[in-house]
């Protein structure tokens, strides 16, 4: 099966089972309700053969008022990608959007690799993953204050007595 066919099948599957429009495709994938995050991943893994865990990318979006639009409140967006293995390999991507303070359910029970990826995103971006088995900082020291990849974190923040 070629990648295009896989993509078409995936779009149909998502619309049928989860009722999300694959409209912004391939622009990071559709935005899926948080409640369906784990169910979607499990279904993709078990039914469509997307077994390879690829990425977990969280991004921080502060309060923003687009020109002529309403205020978009501060939120996190977590993009996840799973890959099908073998010929015509293809990435199934989707995103979930959570307000600050809410958590994203973890995928660590389905994919062993999600453990570290989600820890890294928690460490750098600050998004919390619910039910994660071991949610600690991964890259930065334990006592670090703040999450550097948030937009309100200054890049040159000092850390005495070292810098």
């Amino acid at each position: 099966m070629t990648a295009d066919e896989r993509q078409a099948r995936l779009a149909a599957f998502m619309t049928e089972r989860f009722g999300v429009e694959a409209d912004p495709w391939p622009d990071g994938g559709p935005i899926v309700p948080v409640e369906q995050h784990v169910a979607l991943a499990a279904a993709l893994q078990a039914e469509l053969g997307y077994t390879l865990y690829v990425y977990c990318v969280a991004s921080h979006w502060p309060d923003e008022t687009p020109k002529g639009g309403d205020l978009i409140p501060e939120h996190y967006e977590v993009a996840t990608g799973l890959r099908s293995v073998g010929a015509g390999s293809h990435v199934a991507m989707w995103r979930v959007s959570v307000p600050v303070g809410a958590g994203v359910p973890t995928l660590a029970d389905l994919f062993a690799g999600a453990d570290w990826q989600e820890r890294e995103q928690y460490d750098l971006v600050g998004v919390v993953f619910d039910d994660h088995p071991d949610l600690r900082r991964l890259m930065l020291p334990e006592e670090w204050v703040g999450h550097p990849l948030r937009k309100d974190y200054a890049i040159e923040t000092g850390h005495l007595p070292w810098r």
Binding site: A3, P26, D27, G28, T51, L52, Y53, V54, Y55, V57, S59, W61, E64, A79, G81, R83, V85, G86, A87, G88, S89, H90, V91, M93, A108, D109, L110, F111, A112, G113, D115, W116, Q117, E120, L124, P133, D134, R137, L138, M139, L140, P141, P148, L149, K151, Y153, I155
Partner: protein
């Protein structure tokens, strides 16, 4: 749920083992390996809990080289990012540049000319050979120590690697961090006589790979690597392992063939796989890949098409590289596996630089296998397993 069942059945080690529930006849020894340790391939720390010499639990701590590259890239323009990401996977810098530029090209819809695509493929394959040579050398040190036979292997591998470095220096003028790829094509064209030089070097290396295989074909090496650090296919996929480590677990998956980019759909090559899932299988796969890459590089240098090196819509100045909005994930196959770039463009109206820039490093996934694999092994196996995963700390920590 699948993960839990496999831990309970003893198929994988338990990374979340509660040591207070562990009963032993003796005290557990908490041993730090790293961050400064001869065989952790950079600054990487694994805390081991040992019962005698057997590992009960292993907790890796990355992040000793966390340089905030992703944050830095948010401040730089798309063109400025290229030399920065060189330093991530510093054993295969060429491929980092390609990953970034491919992402930008996809977001901007730029067509890369055929010659540049072939040249990129050629550089990627040469870089793969160089990277695997470095891996083989350091793996020798891991197994044989700084004062032993392993060092001899290391010296030989570096001798050959230097030749490839010379080729790159001849092409780009730089020995290590090349900055030769740019948005829409390549910066440096092939100098006169370079093709002949490449072929000579490839012949030389090919001959010497046979020597290494002959040197390593002895029982001690096999006993140290066979059945050590077995990663089965299910664990490998769940962890997101890619590249040689995944293929050594028996999964036939290679982005170059399965999701072709560059010129990989135009040339003919084989993807070696092995079924052991252990350190020896990874060694087998990497050596086979080196040979295959040398063959590919020969074909590529022979068939290098004529034409321009930058795109039909040339980007004359860096100022022109601008992306309004969009998100893209682009991946390619490095010597360590799938190196992906996730770019969120636009956002706060700064078109020239990304809003969020995420590198999906294959090495981070590789080392995340350690807590699952190490328990039950011995202290000496740690270096063999870690070495066989070929992690590059610049890429793990970024």
């Amino acid at each position: 749920m699948a993960v839990k069942a496999n831990i309970d059945s003893g198929r994988w080690g338990d990374p979340y083992l509660d040591l207070s529930t562990y009963t032993a006849d003796a005290d557990l020894m908490e041993l730090n390996m790293g961050p400064q340790h001869p065989s952790t391939h950079g600054v990487f720390r694994v805390v081991l809990w040992l019962d005698g010499e057997t590992i009960v639990k292993a907790v890796p701590h990355p992040g000793y080289l966390h340089r905030g590259v992703e944050k830095l890239c948010e401040k730089l323009t798309y063109v400025q990012i290229t030399p920065i990401v060189d330093k991530n996977d510093y054993v295969a810098p060429m491929l980092n540049e390609q990953a970034v530029n491919m992402a930008v090209e996809q977001l901007m819809g730029i067509e890369v000319p055929r010659r540049a695509r072939w040249l990129r493929t050629l550089l990627a394959e040469l870089q793969r050979v160089a990277s695997h040579l470095l891996w083989l050398g350091t793996f020798g040190i891991d197994l044989g120590g700084a004062l032993g036979g392993g060092t001899s292997l290391f010296m030989y591998c570096f001798r050959e690697r230097e030749l490839i470095m010379d080729l790159f220096e001849g092409l780009t003028g730089s020995r290590f961090h090349y900055n030769t790829h740019t948005v829409g094509g390549n910066r440096h064209d092939v100098p006169a006589g370079w093709a002949e030089q490449v072929k000579q070097v490839l012949t030389f290396i090919e001959r010497h790979i046979d020597e290494y295989v002959a040197v390593l074909d002895h029982p001690i090496f096999e006993q140290r690597t066979m059945n050590v650090g077995v990663i089965d296919a299910e664990l490998a996929l769940g962890l997101g392992l890619t590249g040689p480590v995944l293929r050594a677990s028996g999964v036939d998956h290679d982005l170059r063939r399965d999701a072709p980019y560059h010129a990989y759909d135009e040339i003919d090559f084989k993807v070696p796989i092995a079924h052991g899932g252990d350190c020896y299988a990874r060694y087998e796969v990497r050596v086979a890949e080196m040979r295959e890459s040398i063959r590919m590089a020969r074909d590529l240098i022979d068939g290098l098409p004529e034409g321009p090196l930058v795109g039909a819509r040339p980007i004359k100045t860096p100022v022109q590289v601008k992306i309004k909005s969009g998100q893209a994930y682009v991946a390619l196959e490095t010597p360590r596996g799938e190196l992906g770039t996730y770019v969120i463009a636009g956002g706060d109206n700064r078109n020239a630089s990304p809003y969020r820039f995420k590198i999906r490093p294959p090495s981070l996934h590789s080392v995340s296998a350690l807590p699952w694999v190490l328990p039950g092994h011995q202290v000496s196996d740690v270096v063999a397993i870690l070495g066989s995963l070929d992690p590059i700390m610049g890429e793990v920590d970024r």
